[in-house]
């Protein structure tokens, strides 16, 4: 079966550009998470959806970051006016139920801001 997919896998943006990162979770998974992983660090939580509802966005570093999951499946993380400090791998994960359990991660999108 298909796992979590993300696109693009790599994105190079000039400082100030807007970017959109896509996540396709495992079909039927209720919960969807976005994490940011800097080089040599563990993933850091950005935001969480349960179906289409964004229940927690406490990890979004600034108002330049915006995420949506309008139909409760595919999610998009948008970063406006990218800055160099936004360079990182953005990981999407999904889990079957709302309760705390195993998360399945996608391959990530490596964003480089020049």
């Amino acid at each position: 079966g298909a796992g979590v997919s993300q696109s693009p896998r790599y994105k190079v943006a000039k400082r100030g550009q807007d970017v959109a990162l896509r996540c396709d979770p495992i079909s039927g998974h209720v919960s969807l998470f976005w994490y940011q992983q800097a080089l040599g660090q563990g993933p850091e939580f950005l935001t969480y959806f349960q179906n289409e509802a964004q229940l927690d966005k406490s990890g979004l570093p600034s108002d330049r970051f915006f995420a949506e999951r309008p139909e409760g499946s595919v999610s998009t993380l948008k970063i406006q006016r990218t800055q160099q400090e936004d360079s990182a791998v953005y990981l999407c994960a999904s889990s079957l139920a709302a309760a705390y359990n195993e998360q399945f991660f996608g391959p990530g999108t490596r964003l480089t801001v020049l």
Binding site: F33, Q41, G42, E44, D56, Y100
Partner: protein
């Protein structure tokens, strides 16, 4: 928010040697998960520990959850080159929510 300290940050071992990584929290945890991330890859779930003093084994991997549910360890017996990667522990929030807080990870390097 919740924090978990993970040590060591790096570990070089000769193939065949054992390896252990430790995670410590200042607060009592409801449960803890372990993930492995291969170089260039994404985190992959290994196990979840829930009960106080729980010990679980997966082939050469042994996972323990402390009696006080504040610490956990992952031990690999007789490492192989396929064990190379970064091992992360991850904990849930202490309030309602499902996101994970990851430790800093232990990067394991195995010399053949």
């Amino acid at each position: 928010g919740q924090q978990v300290m993970q040590i060591p940050q790096y570990q070089h071992v000769q193939e065949g040697e054992d390896f252990t990584t430790y995670c410590n929290s200042s607060t009592t945890l409801s449960n803890i998960q372990w993930y492995k991330q291969r170089p260039g890859g994404h985190p992959v779930f290994l196990i979840q520990l829930v009960k106080s003093g729980e010990v679980k084994k997966q082939k050469r991997l042994t996972f323990q959850f402390g009696e006080a549910k504040k610490n956990s360890s992952l031990h690999i017996t007789a490492t192989q080159t396929t064990d190379v990667g970064t091992y992360f522990c991850a904990i849930p929030p202490n309030n309602a929510g499902n996101m994970l807080t990851f430790g800093g990870g232990t990067r394991l390097m195995v010399k053949p």
